[in-house]
């Protein structure tokens, strides 16, 4: 990991067991760096919401500690919560309040004095300014989501949690939401988003944490994960079983199957020269006859599915 000065949120050994015996979080460790966008990727019921609710103080962990900006989220809750804004998954809003009032309310709740200029800027940034006097029940789902983001930003937090910001949102709105997140990230806000869309994690996140059944399975730079995704395999079926791979093929990353009739070539498809032509030529030169060739790619989806299955 990087040096500690960069760590904004430090989640240590967090476990949440409910009275009915269900373990929602199982010894979760996660460090989130200042200014990054991290995506928590996992299927429904993986514990994503529980994890962020625990950081935000809505759920009390059974054991473990969380520090935000070096302060304990339970002991120093006033200071840590001021740094955090939370956009919940459900579109929970009051019905009869106006957009402006509800955003101002949240600002007060988080201990900041009234400041119409700040609220105005937030609403304008989120293209909500012309709706400021509308009652919340008059807004569409997409607009309500924006209002929830505005509320979460009303006290100018350093950290923004977005719980499934694009769940059940159409393509247009999703792109729109991504732009909103990017703009926020540019202002220096650290963003933690949960999603079960791999595409979204790829698109938005600097790092991706995969979570399933209450456990963090891996946390990886998105680019690193993508590099792993570039990894492909070429399966070469041969007509005559080989006793061993000839020495002329030793330059290539090859494995021979147990029945000695299948050669697997591992290569990186994102590489400029994946070496396929050279390999085929070398095979011909070695007088190895092929009966079939296929390639396969491990997608993030595969990695994800495998990880989740392995964890089961």
């Amino acid at each position: 990991m990087t040096d500690n000065a960069d760590i904004l949120i430090d989640i240590k050994n967090i476990t949440k067991k409910y009275d009915n015996g269900f373990t929602a979080l199982d010894d979760v460790n996660l460090q989130i760096k200042k200014g990054e966008i991290i995506a928590l990727l996992g299927p429904n019921g993986a514990g994503k919401t529980t994890l962020i609710s625990t950081v935000c103080g809505i759920i009390t962990p059974t054991s473990g500690t969380i520090s935000v900006g070096g302060l304990d989220t339970i002991k120093d809750y006033r200071d840590t919560r001021k740094m955090i804004g939370l956009v919940p998954q459900e579109l929970t809003t009051d019905a009869f309040e106006t957009v402006f009032d509800t955003v101002s309310f949240t600002r007060g709740l988080f201990g900041k004095p009234r400041n119409p200029a700040v609220i105005e800027k937030i609403l304008k940034d989120l293209s909500l300014w012309d709706k400021k006097d509308n009652k919340l029940r008059e807004l569409s789902g997409g607009m309500k989501r924006r209002v929830l983001i505005a509320k979460a930003l009303s006290h100018e937090p350093d950290i923004l949690f977005l719980d499934e910001p694009t769940a059940g949102v159409d393509v247009e709105l999703r792109k729109d939401m991504w732009n909103v997140m990017r703009k926020l990230s540019q202002t220096g806000v650290t963003i933690i988003l949960t999603t079960h869309y791999i595409e979204e994690a790829e698109e938005m996140a600097d790092r991706i944490g995969v979570i399933s059944k209450g456990r963090i399975l891996l946390v990886e730079q998105t680019s690193e994960l993508m590099r792993k995704l570039g990894h492909k395999e070429m399966l070469i079926e041969i007509s005559e079983p080989l006793s061993a791979l000839p020495a002329s093929l030793s330059d290539f990353d090859l494995t021979l199957s147990d029945d000695r009739k299948l050669i697997t070539y591992s290569y990186n498809a994102s590489h400029e020269h994946p070496g396929i032509t050279r390999l085929l030529k070398a095979l011909i030169d070695a007088d190895i006859r092929t009966t079939d060739i296929s390639t396969k790619q491990s997608s993030l989806e595969d990695i994800f599915v495998n990880l989740v299955r392995d964890a089961a």
Partner: protein, 253 residues
């Protein structure tokens, strides 16, 4: 102390009252006026004075208490139940506010509403009867403490309630009967001795009796006992609210 949060919650709740003016203010005033017309003017004419106080005037403290109790409970219960119901309570729970500040905001607003209501009812009463207040300080003392105590009780009910029906159950099945049977409309001295004793177990009796004493210096139980009892109720409700936040009962897992 997060003053901004207390004021945000308080203002939010008060706004809700202004929005629902008809429900919050007008309807209790109308129903109280009906009580005055029916019991005070119509039936009251046939009734003798109680301890030298005309029946119409005797009714006033009881009617104020009736509205104060039911409105405090339902206002506060609704105030905290609604965010629980819609889910917006996530915001309160994730905010840098202490339990004390949350209670101060919600209960403070509910109690304020009840006080405004109590005062409006007393003003309405002056249209029908000649109202005099012997001990204004103690009148306010009972008014304020009862509003606070029963707003706290409402808050507890709002946290406990799992549905809108439960929200109605306590005011309807407990508060209203206790108020009616607690000497709001009669002196318990009018009851047979056995029922007088039973009524002593009704907490509302002490509130009505003390409140009425502050107006006319007549009471069913001594005012000192009433003062002690209201403080005991306040203590009990505060204790329960403290326990709720300490354990996260029905609001936090």
């Amino acid at each position: 102390m997060n003053i901004h949060a207390i004021s945000a919650i308080y203002r939010f709740e008060m706004n809700r009252m202004w929005r629902t003016m008809g429900q919050s203010i007008v309807s209790p005033v109308i129903s109280t006026s009906l009580y005055f017309i029916v019991f005070g003017a119509a039936i009251g004419q046939q009734m003798g004075a109680i301890d030298g106080v005309s029946y119409g005037a005797f009714l006033v403290p009881g009617l104020v208490m009736l509205s104060l109790l039911t409105q405090s409970v339902s206002n506060a219960a609704f105030g905290i139940y609604f965010p629980k119901f819609t889910g917006t309570i996530y915001e309160i729970l994730s905010a840098p506010v202490s339990a004390f500040e949350i209670v101060l905001g919600y209960v403070g607003a509910a109690a304020t509403k009840s006080l405004i209501l109590g005062i409006i009812i007393m003003l309405t009463a002056t249209l029908f009867v000649d109202l005099k207040i012997a001990h204004p300080f103690w009148m306010l003392f009972f008014l304020v403490l009862t509003a606070m105590t029963f707003s706290l009780l409402g808050f507890i009910i709002g946290i406990w309630a799992d549905g809108f029906d439960q929200l109605q159950i306590v005011p309807l099945l407990i508060i209203t009967p206790l108020t009616f049977l607690g000497g709001s409309f009669y002196s318990i001295k009018m009851l047979p001795e056995f029922w007088q004793t039973v009524t002593l177990a009704n907490p509302v009796l002490y509130l009505v009796s003390g409140f009425r004493w502050s107006f006319y210096e007549i009471s069913d139980v001594s005012p000192q006992i009433s003062i002690a009892m209201i403080l005991v109720f306040l203590g009990i409700c505060t204790g329960i609210v403290y326990w709720i936040f300490k354990t996260g009962y029905r609001i936090k897992s």
